[in-house]
């Protein structure tokens, strides 16, 4: 499911959440940040991750 989201879809979702949290003025002010964050999420969600790869958090590098 995650891989099907486009950058535009992601940006729309982020924008609506921001609107709910902080209002229209903030959405306008954070437009560039919302676009950049949507692009970052798109890069991450479109990358291939093996099913057995678990996150490491504080594990030793």
């Amino acid at each position: 499911m995650a891989a099907e989201r486009t950058t535009a879809d992601i940006r729309t979702t982020l924008t609506e959440q921001t609107r709910v949290l902080w209002g229209d003025a903030d959405v306008e002010r954070q437009a560039a940040a919302l676009a950049q964050t949507a692009e970052e999420i798109a890069v991450v969600t479109q990358a291939t991750v093996a099913a057995d790869l678990e996150p490491a958090f504080f594990a030793r590098p």
Binding site: L14, T37, E40, A47, L53, P55, A56, F58, R60
Partner: protein
């Protein structure tokens, strides 16, 4: 005799141990230098003159009584103002923490004091060690940023206000300001230095960093403060390495792997030329040099790093942010607001990709000992509204591997340039051997025109 404020960590420690210089003389010289330059550079939040001199007198008396003193006895050190100091204000460069006075010392402070270091005070940080610029100026040219977030630590060490300071690095906050200010900056393996008592940006990415003027000084300070800490579950359980010995046995030329691709594309022409010249000099001195390719997962590194940082920063700040949002600077406000809306499954995917990158890192070291890149894409920008570009340093904070920046010359505009050495996780001794060898081969020390 050389002016005391210009001496490095090893020189001060040796002179004090031999009773050739008093800790009081050294501390006084550094305090005088700070007083002279601080109105121009704005590197300090708190100069703790009284306590520093009291500690220096105490150290002097101990030496006169013939008592054993630590390896950093008499060495002045500054602390980035996100590091807890009992009884001394720790502002994090924020209006939210403007009057915060910790009740305990961070583990790194405890260890510095045990090693005999003289804490001179708290150096300027950007707001909560993120991207809103600080008032600190670059000692090479006050129209340029000193970098950040360890702005005050880098400017103070570069300006010869003192020989060493601690910083931190989540993206590039130690190595970038070190490179911009012409000093040596070290970020060890994640977990090598305790983060207990250090105000976080991102728990998974934060490292304590060291800013000094030589590789030997970096090894001395790391040896004093590294090691397991029961207060910080992320610290590495292994005993620390023999870092100063590694520096003393740096006779073998390293096999250097130069990373091009991304780092060539994004460096300006002057920076590329400086790296080429530096690598050519190292090769002529005996280093084996070859090009190394980045692993496949590198394409996700910057995006995953930024997502993790935003979400974890938001998690730390949520409560304060909800009640004091107007007290936050524009860039931190943006970071927190974006972190609050990034879906949790996407954050976890970024963490899984981080692990993938960590697992691919050893591929790059198959035929080389150390990786080499420019420390930053360009010299310090002539812009006090930015702290510069973190893209050359943040991949290695993301992976948690040790890195060091060394000065490699001046730009045409007279600003410092640096190159970054990268070692596999846990391999600080390898990093120190290579860095010391390179330092000796290049023989470059940059002194700002102050």
């Amino acid at each position: 005799m050389t002016a005391l404020h210009t001496l490095g960590v090893a020189e001060v420690a040796a002179l004090v141990q031999r009773r050739e210089v008093s800790p009081v003389e050294v501390v006084t010289a550094c305090l005088d230098r700070i007083a002279a330059l601080e109105p121009t550079l704005h590197a300090w939040v708190t100069v703790d003159r009284e306590r520093a001199l009291a500690a220096a007198h105490h150290c002097e008396q101990a030496i006169q009584r013939g008592e054993a003193v630590g390896p950093l006895a008499g060495v002045p050190v500054g602390l980035k103002d996100i590091i807890y100091t009992a009884g001394v204000r720790t502002t994090a460069g924020s209006r939210v923490y403007a009057n915060f006075v910790p009740t305990y010392d961070a583990t790194v402070v405890v260890r510095l004091r045990q090693a005999g270091a003289m804490i001179l005070g708290k150096t300027v940080t950007t707001e909560f060690a993120t991207a809103d610029p600080s008032p600190t100026r670059n000692p090479w040219n006050t129209a340029h940023t000193p970098g950040g977030s360890s702005s005050g630590s880098a400017a103070a060490v570069g300006a010869r206000m003192l020989p060493a300071a601690l910083g931190s690095q989540t993206g590039g906050s130690t190595l970038r300001p070190a490179a911009y200010c012409g000093v040596v900056g070290l970020k060890p393996t994640y977990g090598r230095i305790s983060r207990y008592g250090v105000i976080p940006v991102s728990w998974c990415l934060d490292h304590v960093g060291i800013l000094v003027r030589s590789v030997q000084d970096a090894a001395l300070v790391l040896e004093a403060i590294a090691g397991p800490d029961p207060h910080d579950a992320s610290t590495l359980p292994q005993a620390i390495g023999a870092y100063t010995q590694a520096v003393q046995h740096a006779d073998t030329p390293p096999r250097l792997g130069v990373l091009r691709d991304f780092f060539r594309t994004h460096a300006d022409a002057e920076t590329q030329q400086n790296l080429n010249t530096t690598v050519e000099r190292l090769a002529r001195a005996g280093a084996q040099v070859r090009e190394v390719t980045l692993p496949p997962s590198y394409t996700t590194v910057l995006a995953a790093h930024r997502m993790i940082m935003k979400v974890e920063a938001a998690a730390f700040h949520t409560d304060m942010f909800m009640s004091q949002r107007e007290q936050y600077g524009a860039r931190l406000r943006e970071t927190v607001e974006m972190g609050l809306v990034i879906p949790s499954v996407d954050y976890l995917r970024a963490q899984r990709l981080r692990r993938l990158f960590q697992e691919e890192i050893p591929q790059m070291f198959t035929d080389v000992d150390i990786l080499v890149t420019p420390s930053a894409p360009a010299p310090a920008p002539r812009d006090l509204h930015t702290t510069g570009d973190a893209r050359f340093q943040s991949p290695w904070s993301h992976a948690g591997v040790p890195t060091i920046t060394l000065p490699s010359g001046l730009s045409q505009a007279g600003l410092p340039l640096g190159f970054q050495l990268i070692a596999p996780a846990m391999e600080e001794e390898r990093l120190f051997r290579a860095a010391r060898w390179c330092e000796a081969a290049l023989d470059i020390t940059l002194t700002p025109p102050l």
